[in-house]
């Protein structure tokens, strides 16, 4: 049976695919799939119209709207098919693996409330947050950094599943709204970077330093 744990395992697997994806478009699409899966996750935990709305909203934002915005921001880019992260893909994958291992261990040390739907929620949350960090710090293109931020946010979202009853809908909507605006502003900045500087590379963003 397809349980919440299976879903979270898929999410963890997607982290590795995103970390290893050599094409930007593939990476954006993978993050979109991850967002879709996460949007469905609340349905395992609670029933009722509120949770369905939340689920649909999350899918729309994380699975469709934000990936579209990012693809739109890079639409007329002549981005080479490959983008090489600092240290190479193998290094980011290894870092991701180490992070996932550490999260499984650390998640085990934090005490969990009895009767949680899945013991994987905390480790998956930490591992995904960490994967986001790896993306942020090893990638050189602004789009990939925004993707890293999204993966990181997905990690935080997974932890939020534990609190689905505690966090009022208003706050959840606020968080999603902030996320949209954040990516929207990032998209605009990326477009301006395209116009002012060489395509999408953060390496060009290094005139400000001590």
């Amino acid at each position: 049976m397809f349980t919440l744990t299976t879903l979270l395992e898929l999410v963890l697997l997607l982290n590795f695919f995103v970390l290893g994806a050599s094409r930007l478009r593939t990476a954006v699409n993978l993050v979109a799939v991850q967002g879709m899966l996460l949007g469905a996750a609340p349905l395992w935990l609670e029933h009722g119209p509120r949770v369905v709305l939340l689920s649909l909203g999350t899918m729309a934002v994380k699975g469709i709207l934000i990936p579209r915005l990012l693809l739109y921001a890079m639409r007329d880019q002549t981005i080479g098919p490959e983008f090489r992260p600092a240290g190479g893909f193998i290094a980011s994958l290894l870092l991701g693996a180490v992070g996932t291992g550490a999260s499984l261990w650390f998640g085990g040390t934090l005490p969990l409330h009895n009767g949680e739907h899945s013991q994987l929620i905390v480790p998956a949350s930490l591992a995904t947050t960490f994967a986001g960090f790896v993306m942020l710090f090893t990638r050189v293109k602004t789009i990939s950094q925004s993707l890293g931020y999204l993966v990181l946010e997905n990690g935080v979202f997974i932890f939020g599943l534990l609190l689905i009853e505690a966090v009022p809908a208003m706050v959840e909507i606020g968080v999603l709204l902030d996320l949209i605006v954040a990516v929207f502003v990032m998209g605009i900045i990326i477009q301006h970077i395209n116009r002012e500087l060489d395509p999408l590379e953060v390496q060009h963003l290094s005139s400000l330093k001590e």
């Binding site: 040390t109 934090l110 005490p111 969990l112 409330h113 949350s125 947050t129 960090f133 942020l136 602004t142 950094q145 931020y149 990181l152 946010e153 990690g155 935080v156 932890f159 939020g160 534990l162 609190l163 009853e165 505690a166 966090v167 009022p168 208003m170 706050v171 606020g174 968080v175 709204l177 902030d178 605006v181 954040a182 502003v185 990032m186 900045i189 301006h192 970077i193 002012e196 500087l197 953060v202 963003l205 290094s206 005139s207 400000l208 001590e210």
Partner: protein, 477 residues
């Protein structure tokens, strides 16, 4: 009534988006901000704690202190704005004006908010509405600064969200009703799950610390403050950082009440001193005077966090320092902006003799430097002195020694840069056509400076009562 503090500036921001004229739009800034200050004044006069929306928005004495600092600074910066924007007719100002007013609305929401989730949403919103104002100049350098600011702060704030969730879970785990309402968390704090509370505190401090610009998460600050227009820098260094500091203060209160006080206090003292030392190191031979001001902001955030870590009598000094730092930052950033405009450079290599070339702004910059470094008779001296006195009273001798050493190093480092700029022969007589001290770009700084001086000599009874009340309500250790 308290909600008007958010609604009025938000409506003014909307109006700024709709007004078609670049020439008239800037006048909405002092208008919107002035309404905010008037509303705040009437709320402070009433002297009561205002609570709205089931305790989600509360204006208590602590919130009033922060709101006062932010409101007055914002109003005087907005009074400066029309004069400044008139000098920049080549740049459209619709986005900038809307963002400045929206940032006031969001800062007010952070200060009022008693729900940690709502507070998080508002803090993230302050990042998003200030980012476009950093990019006002539309060049490659400001683009880079905006990108770094947006990314580092968003990541920091994402960590803070994870921390907020941890905090709610610490209640759930302890068998309590999970909540993110500050007052409920405070009431339940002694029973919260300690490992979760511990992890939550670290994440929240690192997350909001990044937004406040505590070292080592401060790296965006010199870039952003260096590239943003002076008034945007003033609002960020005196306003946005202050309201995020309030968020840190709230989290610290929960940690202390939850029995994690010793660890939380040590961590705060550590980050505070580290920030002060980092600032001191980077201020030595700093050639860019706007970046220098950014490091000064890192230093003052360090002072605030250090004071909170000490607790006890230092809290009074900390609250006073929030106001004093906001006002002093206003003087420094606005006058630095004027000097930058007149000389066309913010590097010490190109700018000397500002006191002769630009008598008003040059002198204000020099006085602002003395005030910012905590020299008497200016107000930051009073608040820094209360904090250091408390450090000695609490027998934190090593901390106090490092604090004093860092202050001294900052004074020397900043002094070399500031004196180099202000004294001597003007490097290049500023062309009168480009920029000269005028009433609109001078008077707001004079007002800010007068307040800094006045509060150093005499603390009006209403203010000292307010700060005392707030300090008493925060009595923690």
């Amino acid at each position: 009534m308290a909600v008007y503090l958010v609604v009025l500036p938000a409506l003014a921001a909307l109006a700024a988006l709709l007004v078609p004229s670049d020439r008239w739009r800037p006048w909405l800034l002092p208008l919107g901000s002035g309404l905010h200050v008037a509303c705040l004044a009437s709320l402070i006069r009433s002297g009561e704690t205002v609570s709205q929306f089931d305790g989600w928005l509360v204006l208590d004495s602590t919130a009033k202190v922060f709101m006062l600092a932010i409101g007055v600074l914002h109003f005087l910066c907005m009074l400066y704005a029309p004069g400044y924007l008139a000098l920049r007719p080549e740049r459209p100002n619709r986005i900038l004006c809307a963002c400045m007013l929206a940032s006031l609305a969001m800062m007010s929401l952070v200060v009022l908010s008693r729900h940690l989730g709502l507070m998080w949403v508002a803090v993230e919103a302050t990042t998003l509405v200030t980012a476009p104002s950093i990019y006002f100049n539309h060049n490659a350098r400001s683009l880079e600064a905006t990108w770094k600011y947006l990314l580092i702060c968003s990541v920091g704030i994402a960590l803070a969200l994870l921390g907020s969730f941890f905090l709610a879970y610490s209640a759930l785990y302890a068998g309590l009703k999970p909540t993110l309402l500050f007052d409920d968390l405070m009431a339940a704090a002694p029973n919260l799950s300690r490992p979760w509370l511990h992890a939550a505190f670290i994440l929240l401090l690192v997350g909001y610390g990044a937004k406040m610009g505590l070292s080592p998460m401060h790296t965006w600050k010199p870039d952003a403050y260096g590239e943003a227009p002076g008034m945007v820098g003033a609002l960020m260094a005196g306003g946005v950082t202050s309201c995020v500091f309030l968020a840190v203060l709230r989290i610290y209160q929960i940690a202390v009440r939850g029995g994690d006080g010793a660890f939380a206090s040590r961590t705060m003292i550590f980050f505070g001193l580290l920030s002060m030392l980092t600032a001191a190191v980077f201020m030595v031979r700093q050639r860019d005077f706007k970046r220098m001001l950014a490091y000064s902001s890192v230093e003052h955030m360090g002072i605030l966090v250090f004071g909170v870590g000490l607790g006890g009598a230092a809290i009074y000094g900390v609250l006073l320092h929030v106001i004093n730092n906001a006002l002093a930052k206003g003087v420094l950033f606005l006058s630095a902006g004027n000097i930058h405009r007149a000389y066309g450079s913010k590097l010490t290599d190109h700018v000397t003799g500002a006191m002769r070339g630009l008598p008003l702004s040059g002198s204000l910059f020099l006085f602002g430097f003395f005030a910012g470094c905590g020299s008497p008779p200016f107000s930051p001296f009073v608040s820094e002195f209360s904090i250091i006195a408390a450090a000695f009273r609490e027998r934190h001798f090593i901390g106090a020694a490092i604090f004093l050493a860092a202050l001294m190093a900052v004074f020397l480092g900043m002094g070399a840069t500031v004196l180099g700029i202000t004294l001597g022969k003007p490097s290049r007589p500023p062309q009168q056509a480009a920029f000269a001290d005028g009433a609109w770009t001078g008077a707001p700084i004079v007002l800010l400076m007068s307040l800094v001086l006045l509060l150093g000599l005499y603390l009006p009874p209403f203010l000292s009562d307010l700060v005392n009340q707030a300090a008493a309500s925060l009595a923690m250790n």
